[in-house]
């Protein structure tokens, strides 16, 4: 990323208290306000500092392996009926877009003089990315992970421990991602002087949503230029999966000011939104407050958080970043659910046509694109060009996918 690529995109900044329209803000214990203010100041100062941007840019290039490729998936395109360009975030170090965010926040942690990072993780991808950055920057690292997830994702638990992190299984509540986030918040309140809470997505209290977006926006900045270089024009649509939503904001951001580029976020529809077993906070939830921010939330009639369901652990979260809630309200981006089955069909299609095993999260973006292509072609009267954020690779999902497709040999 070049330093000037971090210039703000008009009309996308929250107000000074972190509100995106009626969403965002800070719903946190007073004990955390000083730390959030410190972080906000450090982030703004860093982003205005040439040396920080140069250091971040060098890390992204030399360590994370960005800019990631924009790859024209010709065989997949032929099946889909659109010119599909894949933003290959799956090729980044640690296997997903998340490395961009953790490198940015780890650099900030150093600048603030803090010596310890904590993180929450669901499938373990953000935990692995955080443990990676902590190893690189010599920071103590504690990762909170729901006990259900530590059992489902034993391999990632081992990866984090190899990298020197302490993994704490969380046994409260539903023992999944949201409870891991609660536990990380509790740790942060108690240890805020020396600890930075390295939140893994563009959610949480201000400044996290805007800050995380800024750290991952290189995805879209790169893709926009790469698309122009490759096709001579902007794409007709940009698509991404949405859980917390950092990969989607990362690729949307550069295109928000391009009115002809349609933005689509595909949420985890699980068994179908109508069944109640899903993780589609925007299409199947309602406005509320969760984990420090006002956004769309899966909740019952009394405002108690509901458990989410998705085959994709990375999308299995009952909230969403507040900027997405705002983009939905303004109509600038469209959000639609994709079921587990639709995602897995697209997962298989990409494997078989391109020899690329996507993360199941990213397969939701692929499935949404498959459904979108004919509609867009009809509307435009020509083959559309669609940039898809292939946000992560599927190595971590081999067991889940093998199980789903019934292709694992039975244990002897």
């Amino acid at each position: 990323m070049s330093a000037d690529a971090l210039a703000p995109v008009a009309g996308t900044q929250p107000d000074s208290a972190g509100h995106f329209g009626r969403f965002g803000g800070r719903f946190v214990p007073e004990a955390l306000v000083a730390a959030l203010d410190e972080l906000d100041g450090a982030w703004r100062t860093a982003m205005a500092d040439e040396s920080f941007r140069a250091e971040f840019g060098a890390l992204l290039r030399d360590y994370a392996g960005t800019p990631s490729l924009l790859y024209e998936a010709r065989r997949f395109s032929a099946k889909v009926g659109a010119r599909v360009l894949l933003k290959r975030e799956d090729l980044n170090h640690t296997g997903a877009h998340k490395v961009r965010n953790v490198l940015g926040q780890a650099l900030l942690t150093k600048r603030m003089g803090k010596t310890r990072v904590i993180a929450e993780t669901g499938a373990g991808q953000h935990g692995v990315a955080t443990a990676t950055a902590a190893a690189l920057f010599d920071l103590e690292c504690v990762v909170y992970m729901g006990q259900v997830d530590t059992e489902r994702q034993a391999l990632n638990v081992a990866r984090m421990r190899m990298l020197g992190a302490t993994v704490v299984p969380v046994t409260t509540g539903s023992r999944t991602l949201k409870d891991a986030m609660n536990e990380a918040m509790r740790d942060w309140v108690a240890n805020v002087d020396e600890t930075h809470y390295l939140i893994g997505t563009a959610a949480g209290p201000h400044p996290f949503p805007a800050m995380v977006r800024d750290f991952v926006r290189g995805i879209g900045d790169e893709a926009r230029q790469q698309c122009l270089d490759l096709t001579g024009a902007l794409p007709d649509a940009v698509t991404a999966c949405v859980g917390g939503g950092s990969n989607a904001l990362g690729i949307f951001h550069a295109f928000v000011g391009d009115p002809d580029v349609r933005l689509y976020g595909f949420e985890a529809g699980g068994d179908g939104v109508a069944t109640g077993r899903h993780a589609a906070s925007i299409t199947g939830g309602s406005a509320g407050v969760l984990h420090g921010t006002r956004t769309y939330v899966l909740q019952d009639a009394d405002g108690q958080t509901l458990e989410s369901h998705s085959i994709s652990a990375g999308l299995d979260y009952p909230g969403v970043g507040p900027e997405h809630a705002w983009l939905h309200d303004t109509g600038r981006a469209s959000y639609q659910p994709v079921t587990d089955d639709e995602a897995m069909a697209a997962f298989e299609l990409l494997c078989r046509t391109e020899g690329i095993i996507p993360a199941i999260e990213s397969a939701h973006a692929l499935a949404g694109t498959v459904a979108l292509a004919p509609k867009l072609a009809a509307e435009l009267g020509r083959e559309p060009t669609i940039v898809v954020n292939l946000s992560g690779r599927g190595d971590k999902d081999v067991h889940t996918a093998g199980d789903y497709f019934g292709i694992l040999d039975k244990e002897r």
Partner: protein, 267 residues
């Protein structure tokens, strides 16, 4: 002056601190929590803090989390909480509620204020609502004559302390430690300093919570604060007991010990 302000004044005149006891609504059941809170009042707790259980209580430690989970698993609703408030207020003790913001927002901020006032509640403690985001609550609490207790923390800057207590009514909640609820072996060194920072910017009484669990600790806190707020230690009486009757006995014993503590301030 609010009813809770009157109670604080009376305690001050008696040379003691007020004892505030917290219990999650619906734990161990709706009727069980009414019995527990009534027992606390009978054993000397001055003010009952009814916590509306929430699925994601980030300011609470394991004891109150567990009690909240039990209450929610039992199916307690926000409307049940208001019924509990009404029943406990009938004992004559001031009843204040405490909860995270989402259940209130979901109920409807003005509707909640209206119904809380009608149930005889004096006000609301908001652990994850700071005045910066509280516009709707400021208006609703004014409209229905309810107290507002925001939290101040050892990490609050002087400017935020002044701003936050400026929006409080009834009393100020000073969090004694940087951390979550739960009894601790030692009371905090940070709490007296925090209270002394609050004094110059308000005449409101100051309650101190987080980490108080014994009569001796209550006496220590009573030496510098107007109110001593106890939660987890009381909840544990019920959680750890082999039966509900044993739990109530333990709850009465601890309540009486704490009530004695706030009457013998250590200065």
């Amino acid at each position: 002056m609010s009813r809770i302000g009157v109670a604080f004044d009376k305690a001050r005149a008696d040379g003691r601190a007020l004892l505030v006891g917290c219990m999650p609504a619906g734990f161990p059941s709706v009727e069980g929590s009414i019995a527990a809170m009534t027992a606390m009042v009978e054993a000397g707790v001055d003010v009952i803090e009814v916590e509306i259980p929430y699925s994601d209580p980030v300011m609470d430690g394991p004891v109150i989390q567990k009690a909240s989970d039990i209450a929610l698993a039992g199916g307690v609703r926000t409307a049940d909480t208001l019924r509990i408030v009404e029943a406990v207020a009938a004992t004559g003790a001031p009843v204040v509620t405490m909860t995270y913001w989402n259940p209130i927002e979901r109920y409807g901020v003005d509707a909640f204020a209206r119904d809380l006032a009608a149930a005889g509640g004096t006000g609301l403690i908001t652990p994850d609502l700071i005045p910066d985001e509280a516009g709707e609550w400021l208006a609703a609490s004014d409209a229905h004559g309810l107290d507002r207790t925001f939290l101040v923390s050892p990490s609050s800057t002087d400017a935020r302390l002044a701003m936050t207590v400026g929006h409080c009514r009834g009393f100020v909640y000073a969090t004694a430690v940087m951390g979550v609820t739960g009894a601790r072996a030692r009371t905090s060194d940070a709490a007296p300093t925090l209270v002394s920072r609050v004094r110059p910017v308000t005449d409101l009484p100051v309650g101190v919570g987080l980490g108080v669990g014994t009569g001796a600790q209550a006496g220590t806190v009573a030496g510098y604060a107007d109110g001593v707020i106890v939660g987890s230690a009381l909840v544990r009486c019920l959680l750890d007991a082999p039966s509900e009757a044993d739990g109530l006995t333990a709850l009465r014993t601890l309540s009486a010990e704490l009530a004695e503590g706030v009457r013998t301030p250590t200065r």
